[in-house]
Amino acid sequence: MPLIAIEGLHKRFGSNEVLKGIDLGIEAGEVVAIIGKSGSGKSTLLRCMNGLEAYQAGKITVEGTPVTQDETDLRHLRLRVGMIFQQFNLFPHLTAGRNVMLAPMIVKGTAEAEARTIAAKVLERVGLGQKFDAFPDQLSGGQQQRVAIARALAMEPRALLCDEITSALDPELVNEVLQVVKGLAQDGMTLAMVTHEMRFARDVCDRVIFMHLGKVHEIGPPSEVFSNPRTPELQQFLGQLH
């Protein structure tokens, strides 16, 4: 049984069908890259996985529990599946440390002292042990994104969804974030990432999913997908990157 199982997923925004029947399983410990053109539905797929988008047909289960729009169910789901966003979305009125401490304290009821210990530990893990008391606007984009990763890790999720987490960064800051993600992958974290970093996808991911027009168009290990694209759409997509 995959950790995240998706069957026949359909998603529409009004009359615009964005996902047209997705079947996909992500195993525990697996690192999956989702690639594709803008508008192909890759972010929507990711957002469906933790209930930020409702879907019209099909089924998503996480560890066997279905993803619905019921608020209690959603909160249980989100305790197990964390998400990191393109725009970091740190809480601007809180320090890096408080950003990390908030959810464990108010959601899990962790005592403040223990939450502080957890926060220090995860910030250390993303290389920002010294930035505990810095506010988001005092941090670079790369640092903010690493705090966002720490914030998600503090909830001890079983899987992390990364939605183009380096797309808003200056080129020289991309690497520090990817290094952190690579570390997580090596530690066995289950990761599903929408990304445009093809080199990273090739080096770190177990599988690559190419989405096209709302469907999984091609799927396979990176060596296959990148070296031997079978469909003209993927060939064209990869060709455009060079």
Partner: protein
């Protein structure tokens, strides 16, 4: 024909003026605090509660207040409610009217602030398994108040000036005091000259107070 100012006759009534100031400060202090609390609740109800009936009720309340004069609201509460068996002192009626009035305006002001908080912030909170109420309390409220703090301050000053209307139901606030003094000594120009100055000072103090409160409560960068 030069007017001869004579303030001596006004200064005989310093105690009346002092009492007037005390009442005005009470009205704006208590009314302002509770009114903003109502506003936060109203903004939550309209934007966040997901309860249609509550959203609608608060919406109707806001429109009722914003589209009727404050004086009529005050008369309704002070003269109207006793007919329904609700007996209120002048001060109680005035405070209720102020909270009622400010609550509606601040509902809309605070709601504007809430809507200006980027959607991504809410999604980040939700994706950390926070409930909608937790997202509102811990993620949305402070950034929202930061955005609208100056507007809220202005509304408070307006409401403080509006408290002058409470003299009409014999609340002994500053305008009541001024009216009272000029009816005794007929020195209207001098009395209102001083009342104007006192309102000016009170308004400046209120703005400064709100700035301090904002820095402490809303903008405060307290490291943990």
């Amino acid at each position: 024909m030069a007017y001869q100012f004579d303030f001596v006759d006004v200064f005989k009534y310093t105690d009346v003026l002092a009492k007037g100031i005390a009442f005005t400060v009470t009205l704006i202090g208590v009314g302002g605090t509770l009114g903003i609390a109502v506003g936060i609740f109203g903004a939550w109800a309209r934007g966040y509660s997901r309860m249609k009936w509550l959203d609608w009720t608060v919406g109707a309340y806001v429109e009722l207040v914003r589209n009727t004069p404050f004086l009529i609201q005050l008369f309704f509460i002070f003269f109207g409610l006793p007919s329904l068996g609700v007996k209120l002192t002048e001060l109680q009626a005035a405070l209720i009217a102020m909270v009622f009035n400010l609550g509606a305006y601040s509902t809309e002001i605070i709601r504007a602030g809430i809507e200006a908080v980027p959607r991504g912030q809410l999604e980040a909170g939700a994706s950390l398994a926070m409930s909608r109420l937790q997202v509102f309390k811990h993620v949305v409220l402070r950034p929202a108040l930061q955005k609208i703090w100056p507007a809220l301050t202005s509304q408070l000053v307006i409401v403080m000036f509006g408290s002058a209307v409470c003299s009409q139901i014999a609340v002994e606030e500053l305008t009541f005091a001024a009216n009272f003094i000029q009816s005794r000594n007929f020195r209207a120009f001098e009395v209102y000259f001083i009342a104007t100055g006192l309102y000016l000072v009170l308004a400046i103090l209120l703005r400064q107070g709100m700035r301090g409160l904002g820095n402490w409560l809303v903008f405060g960068r307290r490291s943990p």
